[in-house]
């Protein structure tokens, strides 16, 4: 079945079984490797993307549901001109260790900051529940607060 949606601002059509996980389509059909496969069971968050601006775990999202929607992956988080505040903060705080989980965390963080522009530590604990095997949580917490500052500075 053909499914048409917007991926990082460009319309794409893919021919795939409608029940294929969107993650597989993004990585294997559309060849964008930034989004990672961790567990395949909606448990780790490595595959987090945005669908219509909301965080979605793409390993557990059938491609047919993406029809007509706006899908954003880590590759589409920044614009040509501006790095996303989350990316900027991540660089400033030198967050990644091995890096595998990081795109998912950054997409989850970017989605949260749209809804909660000034998250407390508790908001971070409750909303960002992805898994990092390298345990970069401490640096991520700092980076999330920094991203909020950067985002609020640019939107003022």
């Amino acid at each position: 079945m053909t499914t048409t949606f917007t991926l990082n601002g460009k319309q794409v059509s893919v021919d795939a079984d409608g029940n294929s996980p969107l993650l597989w389509v993004i990585r294997d059909t559309l060849d964008l490797k930034g989004t990672k496969f961790g567990c395949g069971k909606a448990a780790c968050g490595a595959c987090t993307i945005h669908v219509d601006g909301k965080a979605v775990r793409s390993c557990s999202y059938a491609v047919k549901f993406a029809a007509g929607k706006e899908v954003t992956t880590i590759e589409g988080l920044s614009t040509e001109e501006n790095m996303h505040p989350v990316q900027q903060a991540w660089m400033e705080e030198i967050v990644p260790q091995c890096g595998y989980c990081q795109p998912g965390f950054m997409m989850a963080t970017a989605a949260m900051l749209k809804e909660i522009p000034n998250p407390t530590d508790e908001d971070i604990d409750n909303n960002i529940v992805n898994v990092c095997r390298c345990a970069t949580y401490y640096r991520m917490r700092k980076a999330i607060h920094r991203a909020a500052e950067l985002q609020n500075a640019t939107t003022k």
Partner: protein, 198 residues
Amino acid sequence: MKHLLTSLFILAFMGVCVAFTEVSPFGESNRSSEANLDEAPFDIMMKVLTHKRCVNCHPSGNRPRQGEDSHIHNFNVQRGADDHGLAGLQCSTCHQSENNDFSGVPGAPHWGLAPVEMAWAGKTRVEIATQMMDPARNGGKNLDEIVKHLTEDELVGWAWNPGIDHEGKPREPVPVAKDEFTAAVKAWAAAGAVIPEQ
């Protein structure tokens, strides 16, 4: 002889059907198992409503339950302001409008928690039924709307089609067939929606 046997068989079969229809309190023979023939509609209905497939998402408090053992939902999942999760961690981050057989994540339309005033966990069936009939605790529903919710809502209907879990094992469905449940709910409502003392 052959005709005689066939006739006897047909008569015997008709007798079974008549007997079956007569003992059915629903006036229609849509019972799925003979073992349930003596049960009151209320008992049949409450077997479903007290099952974990329903109660896991009618929790007391702000944490959904999951699994066959009704453990607290993993990942610190919480109710949120609109019963659909926190602002950055919505139910729809993982749950879509149908079961996902790749991940084992269950799904159905408007997946989310019942409002906290509809909490069922830890309550007796009489408490649950009383609460369900109280417009202050049932979202302002009248009896017809309750019957419609129980028998037609797609999220309620998921309890008969709960999909597979993360290990590929089928989740346990509610213990009464859907048509039997529907008939029981309607019979209970038609007879005045009486809630027994216990």
